[in-house]
């Protein structure tokens, strides 16, 4: 069964995997400087408390995000929901909202003296608690569910309709057919979504800091920000890497060894949409509620900030907007290209080694971005000084940080692709590169586009690596928002934040319009 992969694929896979573990290598270098008292700090009870709190939050956000995303993904791909494309784009936008903005949204709405808090109190209704676990859960779910949503959509779009039709023709009701056929086939997409959401929560700093939930990443920031204690911060970072490894091993176990592709060539046609009928209104309400929380509320809060001083924002936003798009597009394309060999090796040439290689791409993902940024500062200066301070370093940072978003979605689509298709083309005399270009790549398009969309959106709002690694003077919309909010000038932050959301919406709109035209055969 296991064949030897082509040398080019093998080598490029190792190169990408090696890049991805760079931050972990840096952490080992720094942690080696730790003395006994620093180790003592790591091993005290508080670390375990932090770990449980962080894992609990990650698990809760993952479950909630999955529960929200599955109906949304199904509605926008399989039903006759009105305005499916528009909903799809709007439902992706929250990924581009910086988490500290989501945090502020919650505070401005439900915090003491907040807009909604006042209304609720007036009507004698209970005000939801914003601080601590509930607030962090809500803010992070709203800003991460699109990872699930996009992965599940890509999974649904590349699924062969014949499976479902077969089940229906055997007499299964639509609901039973969904749970018996569609849902199990979505397992790879589910797992990739869960990894992206869960591990992202481990790395998040913005929301947990604002909403006062004490998590691991916050402890790491404290060491850099307060004590300049790089050894202790590195130890905490390695602890986080260890947690990631445990999660990844668990995921492999969960994933199983099932095949997901069909055995014969399916018909190249779209699945006929399910008519919602009387479910149309509840479906629209669900979409509306999620968009309200993830898009309308942030835009509302930003407009409210902006109304207090829009005129104050000096300077053109064109340059930072171009900077954001340039860096994010380069990051997205490079990540997807880098993800291809890893996904191919893991799916087509499964072995312990290729599995390790694919898993390695997650090494830096759960780390707080400041750790990743500093590791690239260290390696950039020491190893590739000629790239240091150029856009190359920034794009590299985006790739190392966001690679799993591309690997997960590409892998999930690849699993549904029958390798015999490519072999058939090869037997007809096509060269391997031509098979890849003319057969495999077009069929992978939903996964590639979903991966690119994820990386693009997340890179648009990225901050610590952008501040430390971008060429000096290179501005993005996110750095503009940051420079205004850091000094409490919320009015000035509103406009760049709104432009950030608008540009991201345009970008995803462009990708989704591509996706709808993709072949589904």
């Amino acid at each position: 069964m296991t064949r030897r992969p082509p040398v080019g694929l093998w080598v490029s896979g190792w190169v990408v995997a090696a890049l991805a573990v760079l931050p972990a290598v840096y952490l080992v270098v720094r942690a080696a400087e730790a003395d006994a008292s620093t180790w003592g700090l790591l091993l005290r009870d508080r670390t375990w408390g932090l770990l449980w709190r962080t894992l609990g939050l990650a698990a809760a956000v993952t479950v909630l995000a999955a529960a929200v995303s599955l109906p949304l993904a199904w509605l926008t791909t399989r039903s006759d929901l009105p305005g499916r494309r528009v909903w799809t784009v709007l439902l992706c936008v929250p990924l581009a909202v910086p988490t500290f903005v989501s945090g502020y949204v919650l505070l401005a709405a439900f915090g003491t003296g907040g807009v909604l808090e006042e209304a609720l109190t007036r009507w004698g209704l209970p005000v939801p608690p914003v601080y601590g676990f509930p607030g962090a859960l809500l803010a992070l779910t709203v800003s991460t569910y699109p990872y699930f949503f996009l992965a599940l959509r890509a999974g649904l779009l590349s699924q062969d309709p014949a499976w479902l039709e077969g089940a229906r023709s055997l007499g299964l009701s639509p609901a039973r057919a969904f749970w018996k056929v569609t849902a199990p086939l979505l397992r790879p997409a589910f797992v990739s979504g869960a990894l992206l959401v869960g591990l992202y929560v481990l790395s998040d700093f913005g929301a947990v800091a604002l909403l006062q939930y004490d998590a691991f990443s916050r402890a790491i920031y404290v060491q850099y920000e307060g004590a300049y204690d790089r050894a202790y911060a590195a130890l905490l970072g390695l602890a986080l890497v260890a947690v990631t490894v445990v999660v990844l091993v668990f995921e492999v176990w969960l994933r199983g060894r099932a095949g997901y592709h069909r055995s014969s060539k399916g018909a190249a046609r779209a699945v006929s949409p399910v008519v919602l009928g009387r479910w149309r209104v509840p479906a629209l309400l669900l979409c509306g509620a999620v968009v309200l929380a993830g898009v309308v509320l942030p835009v509302g809060v930003l407009l409210y900030w902006g109304a207090r001083g829009l005129a104050e924002e000096g300077g053109s936003l064109l340059e930072p907007a171009l900077g954001s798009v340039l860096a994010s597009v380069l990051g997205a394309v490079t990540s997807v290209v880098g993800a291809l060999p890893l996904a191919f090796l893991a799916v087509r040439y499964p072995s312990r080694l290729t599995l390790v290689m694919e898993r390695a791409s997650y090494a830096g993902y759960a780390l707080p971005p400041i750790v990743l940024a500093l590791s690239l500062v260290f390696l950039g200066v020491q190893v590739v000084p000629f790239f240091y301070g150029t856009l190359v370093m920034l794009v590299l940072a985006y790739v190392v940080r966001f690679l799993p978003q591309a690997v997960g979605t590409v892998r999930a689509s690849l699993l549904q692709l029958n390798p015999h298709l490519g072999e058939a083309a090869a037997s007809l005399g096509q060269a391997p590169s031509s098979v890849f270009r003319r057969v495999t790549l077009p069929l992978l398009r939903p996964g590639l586009l979903a991966g690119a969309a994820l990386v693009f959106l997340t890179a648009m709002k990225e901050l610590p690596a952008t501040l430390l690694l971008a060429p000096i003077g290179f501005e993005t919309l996110a750095t503009r928002v940051w420079s205004a909010t850091a000094e409490g000038r919320f009015a000035e932050a509103a406009l760049p934040a709104l432009v950030l959301m608008a540009v991201s919406t345009l970008g995803v709109g462009l990708l989704v319009s591509q996706e709808e035209d993709a072949p589904r055969g």
């Binding site: 915090g111 003296g113 404290v222 920000e225 307060g226 000096i472 409490g488």
Partner: protein, 327 residues
């Protein structure tokens, strides 16, 4: 669109290799605050300035990672602690004596490795609708009183807060500092991300009083003049009246050391000092420059008698904060 993108790309690549007289500054001070001032420096001297803006602690960590291969000539930092961390690591070079001497010895490095450029006072900001200034205690230590239960806010991850705790340790001893931290926690203090978030929460009435730096109030009032928040200065000599500095240092191995010295000197000229006092509402540190009208004089604030360079004992402070469960 694509052409414009390529153009931007080329521009960014080309600016990394520009002319001779370009000074590279790492600024932990916000672009909105100091950007215009840096432009004035270029107008005056003809020296171009390339600036990497970021958070002071993160830039300090970056400089430590970059070591002697740093592209930076100058570090313009928001607090003395970060400058102290770099001088301890041997990353800074001495400033000229005439630059150092412009500033009171209290506000510069005793070894001449950095100099303060503006003063930042610790204050208690309070909601004017809920608290009268006359009800506020003379000393920061009295906020452990039970009558402040559920009414206070702080930002313990913030560098200025940690500098204040260091001062508290140095002035009153570990025991007293630990007691104060525990007392404030016992009062159910709310934890905020930074000073701006505290001012915002005060405005909403979420808390009645919070421990912040004095100038955040003025930035917030620019957005919303009706904000019901005011600053309260505790009695002179109290640890709660600590005046910390933003400061400048030249890095070891700076390629443009001459330009860097000019830059440091420029920040202490009357023009720059007036800029700090009028635009950022900080305290000028060079004699003869007027403080903003809305502020009490620096001499009245009465910062406790303390060598600011000792504020670099951050490890001890972070350890205390961790031992008392604050962090």
């Amino acid at each position: 669109m694509i052409r414009q993108l390529l153009l931007t790309l080329l521009l960014t690549l080309s600016t990394t290799a520009t002319a001779a007289e370009t000074l590279t500054v790492y600024s932990g001070r916000n672009e909105k605050l100091v950007g215009p001032l840096l432009k004035k420096f270029t107008e005056k001297t003809g020296i171009e300035v390339k600036v990497r803006y970021g958070e002071t602690p993160q830039l300090a960590a970056t400089l430590l990672e970059e070591g002697d291969k740093t592209p930076a000539d100058v570090f313009f930092a928001q607090d003395a602690g970060a400058l102290g961390a770099l001088s301890n690591a041997g990353r800074l070079q001495a400033l000229p004596k005439e630059t150092l001497d412009k500033v009171d010895a209290r506000f510069r490095s005793p070894t001449g490795l950095w100099v303060g450029t503006s003063g930042r006072a610790r204050v208690v900001a309070y909601n004017t609708k809920k608290v009268k200034a006359s009800d506020l205690p003379k000393s920061i230590l009295e906020f452990t009183d039970a009558k402040w239960k559920g009414r206070l806010g702080w930002a313990p991850t913030n560098a200025s807060f940690q500098a204040f705790v260091t001062a508290l340790r140095l002035l009153k001893g570990e025991e007293a500092a630990s007691k104060w931290l525990k007392g404030i926690q016992a009062n159910g203090v709310r934890v905020y991300k930074n000073n701006a978030a505290i001012i915002e929460a005060l405005g909403r009435g979420e808390i009645d009083a919070g421990f912040v730096n004095h100038y955040y109030l003025y930035a917030a009032k620019k957005s919303n003049a009706a904000l019901p928040v005011d600053n309260y200065f505790v009695a002179a000599g109290d640890p709660g009246a600590l005046v910390n500095v933003a400061g400048v240092a030249i890095l070891q191995g700076a390629k443009k050391a001459d330009a860097a010295r000019k830059f440091a000197a420029f920040l202490l000229e009357p023009q720059a000092q007036e800029y700090f006092s009028q635009e950022t509402y900080e305290y000028p540190l060079v004699a003869g420059v007027k403080t903003a009208a809305s502020l009490p004089a620096l001499s009245k604030v009465g910062s406790p008698d303390l060598d600011l360079s000792k504020l670099d004992d951050l490890r001890g402070t972070v350890k205390l904060l961790q031992d008392t469960g604050v962090l």
